[in-house]
Symmetry: C4
Subunit: 192 residues, 4 copies
């Protein structure tokens, strides 16, 4: 099976998730500049989640670019990733509307952690088809960036319950870590 | 006519249906963990429907993978399937928000039954074009899994009115039955 | 310019329009069968609009299937059609929630009329590029079905103000007229 | 990397943005023609934003039509553009619901300005890959239309705070300026 439709479906779901998040930016009823101020935390969490979804789309794009075949298992691993990503708008709004309160900030981290775990799983299931000597396996290597992210989320979640801003800084840090698209794949591709 | 645009349109509609369902998970106004508890039944029905829509997308993907031509009739059979799938978010929310009460749980089954019947119809209309000796006809065979699902829905709907949890178990059972993607098609494809 | 991306964008917009309409089916707060009754007119107008959007998607699909090149003008004629289609959910909900009251039913007809006119315009702008001797020009011919639809809408709109159900019958009649996909194009294609 | 998936994702996001804007046209609760009147400013701002998003989609389409390769940097420049476009529904609704009041009208201009700047940035990042002697570089030339638009936005934003209708006229003027799709690219393409 080719990857075309898997990519198209994932593009569709990620495009919708990224766009419906903005619906949580409720239009203020009056026309003053000051009425934007209470929206600032919501806008901040929106920017963070937009960047995260952009990273996922970007890395997903790169990963499938070097994938030739998919199986039924890969389709489900992909749907599993999309499931956790679909919860991002919910936790984004909850965290933003409560001004980065402890519990919602931890919940945001839980969804990020599960999405990252689902991405790792998807990567494993593709590599198990493509083979250990495939382009993707070479590009991913020991996946230090992926492992580090998981560790940072695991630190951030309990931290959120006491010092939510540390969690926020860790989430931002992981985003910056990934903001640079997965050069490993570009490097491996261009070296062939 | 090729199947490209039919797939693209179906991917779009299913992607949107799967994603707008999450909008029914209303963001709680306070920041306590306890405020997630009333959302649990809604989240449960969301997971079930997400899996169902994933199954439909997956099987649709497999079916069209072995389809070469579509006619006007197939386009309408496909729209008919998308119509019933478009009602899934409505019954999902109704069932979830009412904690799996009898009538909404039965209504959920009715929509699942009609979607399954529409899928069977679509399958028939494609086979009638592709021919009795086509890959798809070989893969579907006597469609025992499809028939069994219809029977289980027909049992679950009246059961929901008295013991909604039996209906819930049956819906979950059918989902598990299909969770494994349609290996028949993969088998037939790989044997050619 | 090829038609690929025009089709993809139109598919996306029509898929979203068709799906967000269902959001107007507000989930009832109680779990009785009787609480579905007030939704019946909304559901009825949803079915009618779903069929209309299905017809537009279907005919759009057929039309672009025999189109080879598009120009900037065609892109705008297409966006113009999508604009009127984007108002369908609004008038659908207005008509349904007011139980087919005169003014909303007439407004529904106005949007249908303008969408039909936009479709005719798009068809003209494609034919003006493809040429008078193109497949599309041959398939459309004197476009009697298109003209008849416009006439029926023009009759239905004022009729809606006095006898809304006559307008409803006319809208349904036009839908049935088109429910059969544009065989003219399939005929012309298969005869080449 | 090819541009296919970048186009598909952008099409998806722009299609969703353009369609969810119409959700701000709240369905009136009564069935009188007069109840549409308060919606007129919202409808007006919707038309303006629909045209703007159509322009962006159109120009994006033309630009990527002459683009052969994309890099990770281009993917992010594109996401950056989509971010500002995703805020269009928010400022459209705010401006429309407040009848083109000074602050929301200025905010609308700020989002248009940042989207235009993001588009220019995306154009630069593509040209830096395609090369100074590429089709795109030739088509864009000194980008007088792009620069003029930025200047007009910069004038319109402060003007909005005192005479919002002047800003509205300037926004409309820029839209008309671009309504004609980027003939430069069509010209350059057809001359090769």
């Amino acid at each position: 099976m080719s990857t075309t439709r898997l990519e198209a479906f994932s593009d569709g779901v990620i495009a919708i998730i990224i766009t419906i998040m903005v619906l949580e930016l409720r239009v203020p009823h009056d026309a003053e500049l000051a009425s934007l101020r209470p929206l600032l935390p919501v806008a901040g969490s929106y920017v963070l989640s937009f960047v995260y979804l952009g990273i996922y789309w970007n890395n997903h794009h790169h990963m499938l670019h070097v994938t030739k075949r998919v199986s039924g298992g890969v389709l489900w691993a992909n749907l599993h990733l999309l499931f956790w990503l679909s919860l991002v708008p919910f936790v984004t709004a909850w965290m933003g509307e409560n001004h980065f309160a402890p519990v919602p900030t931890a919940a945001y981290g839980v969804v990020l952690l599960l999405a990252a775990a689902a991405y790792t799983l998807l990567q494993h299931s593709i590599i198990s088809i493509e083979g250990r000597d495939s382009l993707l396996a070479a590009a991913v290597g020991r996946d230090r960036k992926g492992r580090l992210s998981l560790v940072l989320y695991v630190i951030a979640i309990p931290a959120a319950l006491f010092w939510p801003w540390i969690a926020g800084a860790l989430y931002t840090g992981v985003a910056i870590l990934w903001l640079v698209p997965d050069r490993r794949i570009e490097r491996v591709v261009s070296s062939t």
